[in-house]
């Protein structure tokens, strides 16, 4: 547990900016295949991101929240989970939920305005949460229910630095402390909540220290170092699953990182932040660092990287193809899944709507 029980402003770090293991740091016990998979998922995430942004620019998709720069935190943390552990995401965790087998096509479908992308049937993933911090109490409730059912699953909830200002952050973490739920609260502190910088979001020196208010551990980690993130998350998972004596199960992890791109495709970050700042953080690119480390370890070389590059390009291209070739959702879907049994009023509205469509045809209605 010692990784977690530390001064909240001592950051857990393993790789330095050049991908070298820092003095005194221990690399977590991950086999080659896992390390390569983490690398591949980060690369996939980055590439997906770029393609998604360009789809939006071409009018093939609505607003999209890119995640470049944040792959290390997502992939590192998701890999620390067991298959049946849950992820409760915000709206930016495209790479993390991919780790739970949510296909890229589904993610695209959601951002193309189709609820079916939010279904993720059978996967231990909760739907994307757009209203900030509202998923945090849900995550606590899911973990609590699982604990009441005597399972040993862990529930990892993602949110941003801005989310920590919302009442729901406070209430969700406080409940987790009181009911000692198997919860990990993972803050992707990417320094910005749209245009509001981290230091205007709260006067506390770190976000990790906010755990003090709830009686459990808070820890800061280099969020652009996938190995450090993995390590911290794995320790938190361990503690949540098998708490050590009276140690509380929940943990707040603050993963310090940076969003390289815009908040969403509707945002223009040049209005509120300097390119220099962005460039400085780009020196810590999680992909470069892991790549350098894996090269140095002899796990990756040019050839394998090229293969990976080809594979991920294909995978993303296929996902886009799949998402775009999916039939548009049936307009009748508006009236479905409102309740288990459709009440008469909604049935009547649906019938009137179908008559309207018959009368005018979709073209006229949508013009």
């Amino acid at each position: 547990m010692s990784t977690l029980q530390r001064d909240p402003d001592t950051r857990v770090e393993i790789l330095d900016e050049d991908g070298r293991v820092r003095d005194g740091a221990t690399v977590p016990d991950l086999d080659e295949a896992q390390l390569v998979e983490m690398y591949r998922e980060m690369r996939l995430g980055r590439h997906f991101d770029q393609r998604a942004v360009s789809l939006q620019r071409q009018g093939r998709m609505g607003t999209f929240p890119p995640m470049s720069g944040q792959e290390g935190a997502q992939v590192g943390s998701a890999h620390a989970l067991r298959n049946d552990d849950w992820i409760i995401p915000s709206y930016r965790e495209h790479a993390a939920v991919y780790g739970k087998d949510v296909g890229l096509a589904e993610t695209l479908q959601y951002w193309m305005g189709d609820e079916r992308g939010n279904q993720m049937d059978g996967k231990p993933v909760f739907p994307a949460a757009v209203p900030i911090a509202t998923q945090i109490p849900h995550a606590t409730g899911l973990a609590w229910a699982s604990k009441l059912k005597d399972e040993d699953r862990v529930f990892l909830c993602y949110f941003g630095d801005g989310a920590t200002s919302e009442g729901d952050f406070h209430e969700g973490l406080n409940f987790a402390g009181v009911f000692d739920t198997p919860s990990i609260f993972f803050c992707n502190n990417n320094q910005w909540a749209i245009s509001v910088p981290r230091e205007r979001q709260t006067a506390s020196q770190t976000i990790a220290q906010k755990a003090t208010a709830y009686g459990f551990d808070g820890v800061q980690v280099d969020g652009m170092d996938p190995l450090a993130v993995y390590k911290v998350t794995r320790d938190a998972v361990e503690k949540a699953r098998n708490p050590d004596g009276d140690a509380p199960r929940p943990t707040l992890i603050e993963a310090v990182q940076y969003r390289f791109g815009a908040h969403t495709t509707a945002d223009d970050p040049s209005v509120y932040r300097d390119d220099e700042e962005v460039e400085q953080w780009k020196d810590r690119d999680p992909i470069d660092r892991l790549e350098k480390y894996l090269r140095a370890e002899g796990i990756l070389d040019d050839e394998r990287i090229e293969t990976i590059t080809d594979e991920i390009e294909d995978e993303v291209a296929e996902a886009i193809e799949a998402a775009e070739s999916t039939e548009r959702p049936d307009p009748a879907g508006i009236f479905q899944h409102v309740f288990d049994q459709q009440p008469a009023r909604i049935a009547n509205q649906q019938a009137a709507f179908e008559r309207l469509r018959d009368r005018h045809g979709d073209e006229e209605l949508l013009e």
């Binding site: 279904q119 993720m120 109490p137 409730g141 406080n174 009911f179 409102v338």
Partner: protein
């Protein structure tokens, strides 16, 4: 499975019937969980959960921290995970911190996950005025919840209905806001079948048959309205329809009664503007304008904040005001 005459019954107040309903559902289904402020050892500030903690233990009857959004938000997570939480909000006036979780999440999780996740949760809250309570303890804002698609809204007005509607709400696979008229929590007793049973959601009940005018109402106002109607007997033959479920509305029952009488009033405690009387009026004139012989009268609370208790009895519709309103409709 509705109760019939040979069933064993108890003579209970409305709040006792709520408690009895909770007990019955917890007993038959381990997934039912009661949670909220002071619902455990204290048995609820109105004693609606009395004895449940002792019976079912603190894993199923849970005293929570003082945080309504946390209560409903975690309950949504529990419900999505297969439990059937019944969170209590201590007074309706304190439901607003949880409003976002109710309208943005409980109401939408089924739709937005295309049926994968559901929210079989019942948010219970005592509501309404008339008990000399402190500020913020007397409001009636059922209309807020009726306007949110994906929620059901249920209001019992008798002990028997309280138990049956609560059981139906708990067994319902969708989220229900269950509002309990606290003015009549202990105002009278009634026969309540001992065994669990359900009273179907979405069905109004005719509390008093009549041919001159239909009065639609619910909650504590159902009693006031029946009283007014009884006082008018001989002069005007009033039909009183207790809607019981406010969402989905029993449009058929409303329209059927109206077609018979051609005249109507709606009685509710909530402020007039934006209250459900407007919805009911609009529904009637959409479906049965040709039967309408007089304006539909809204006999409601005023468009003012609910006053502190020294004046609350002036705010609430009572028999005199209801009778005058009904006369106006009939004399038009």
């Amino acid at each position: 499975m509705s109760a019939n005459d040979t069933t064993e019954t108890d003579d209970l107040t409305l709040v006792q019937a709520v408690r009895d309903g909770l007990y019955g559902e917890m007993d038959r289904d381990d997934e039912v969980i009661v949670m909220g402020e002071d619902v455990g050892k204290n048995g609820g500030v109105f004693r609606a959960t009395e004895g449940l903690y002792e019976e079912f233990g603190n894993d199923r009857v849970i005293d929570t921290p003082l945080a309504e959004s946390g209560i409903v938000g975690t309950a949504i997570g529990m419900a999505a995970y297969g439990l059937k939480p019944v969170p209590e909000i201590q007074f309706m006036g304190f439901i607003y911190p949880a409003f976002d979780q109710i309208v943005s999440h409980a109401a939408r999780i089924r739709t937005r996950s295309r049926g994968r996740f559901t929210c079989p949760m019942v948010v219970r809250a005592p509501y309404g005025g008339g008990i000399r309570a402190p500020e913020h303890h007397s409001e009636s804002k059922e209309a807020f919840f009726v306007h949110e698609p994906g929620l059901k809204v249920v209001v019992p007005s008798t002990p028997r209905d309280a138990k049956g509607l609560l059981a139906a709400s708990i067994r319902d696979p969708d989220p229900v806001v269950f509002l309990e008229p606290k003015l009549i929590y202990r105002a009278f007793r009634g026969d309540v079948p001992t065994e669990p049973y359900t009273t179907p959601l979405g069905e109004a009940a005719v509390r008093r048959e009549g041919s001159d005018v239909s009065v639609f109402t619910w909650g504590a106002m159902a009693q006031q309205t029946v009283e007014a109607a009884d006082q008018l007997a001989g002069e005007i033959d009033v039909e009183v329809v207790d809607l019981r479920t406010l969402s989905p509305l029993d449009t058929d029952a409303i329209v059927e009664s109206f077609k018979k009488t051609g005249r109507a009033a709606v009685v509710h405690e909530a402020p007039k503007t934006g209250g459900l009387a407007g919805e009911i009026t609009a529904t009637i004139q959409e479906e049965a304008l040709l039967y309408q012989e007089a304006p539909i009268k809204r006999i409601t609370g005023f468009d003012t904040p609910f006053p502190l208790y020294a004046l609350e009895d002036y705010y609430l519709p009572e028999p005199a005001r209801i009778k005058d309103g009904i006369r106006e409709v009939v004399e038009f």
